[in-house]
């Protein structure tokens, strides 16, 4: 997905295709964009 630099917050939707209960971790990873400079790092546990 592509977002404008001025968007503020970008939303990423995570689907639980199996519809099973459980937890999964979500985290950001640098590529050419770098945390702190270009986006705010996120590490989160999602509880389905």
């Amino acid at each position: 997905m592509s977002v404008s630099e001025s968007i503020g917050d970008a939303r990423v939707v995570i689907l639980n295709k199996s519809k099973a209960e459980g937890k999964v971790g979500v985290r950001t990873r640098d590529y050419t964009a770098k945390k702190v400079e270009d986006y705010i790092e996120k590490v989160e546990i999602i509880d389905f």
Binding site: S4, A10, V24, V26, R29, Y31, K34, Y39
Partner: protein, 172 residues
């Protein structure tokens, strides 16, 4: 995901959001367990150009020892922009102005702060003693190069031709 906005031009950049297994911290297998996010830069640094790419300067008399050349930043003015400049000799035969004889070498970097659209470069002209029937008629150049960041363009007319004349009335 919070994207950080700034006013400086930069290329579009990517990062990933990925799912990982709690405990092992390993990324989950599968192509649909990560999402690439491209941040599209929306800053426009503009273009640099000489206000007047052909300058005639009265090089004899009061206020003759400095020629001031204006550089403008057009279209947009987001972020900090720099450009290097230097005086150059232009081969015009007998009319060629010489470094150290007709003008002093000028070399440096212009730094445009955000939203600054005009800056000036001063070049020192070397005085000459002329008799009444002698003319001053020499040409040299001032070149812009190495603009930064990469999104900044320099006008195709990147050399300002500076013509030194004797008569202030002939200068414009």
């Amino acid at each position: 995901m919070t994207i950080i906005d700034d006013s400086n031009w930069e290329p579009d950049e990517d990062f990933f959001v990925e799912l990982f297994e709690i405990g092992s911290e390993k990324k989950l297998d599968g192509r649909d367990t990560e999402c690439k996010i491209t941040i599209l830069d929306d800053d426009k640094p503009g273009q640099l150009a000489f206000v007047n790419p052909n300058v005639r300067h009265a090089a004899v008399g009061p206020n003759s020892r400095i020629v001031s050349i204006d550089v403008k930043r057009i279209h947009d003015a987001d972020g900090v922009v720099t450009v290097e400049y230097k005086t150059i000799e232009i081969n015009e035969g007998e009319r060629t102005a010489r470094t150290g004889i007709d003008f002093e070498e000028a070399k440096g970097t212009l730094k445009f702060p955000p939203n600054e659209v005009m800056m000036t470069i001063d070049v020192k002209i070397i005085d000459k003693e002329l008799s009444e029937d002698q003319e001053r008629d020499e040409i040299f150049g001032l070149k812009l190069y190495n603009a930064f960041p990469a999104g900044v363009k320099i006008s195709k007319r990147d050399v300002c031709r500076i013509e030194l004349v004797k008569d202030a009335k002939a200068a414009r």
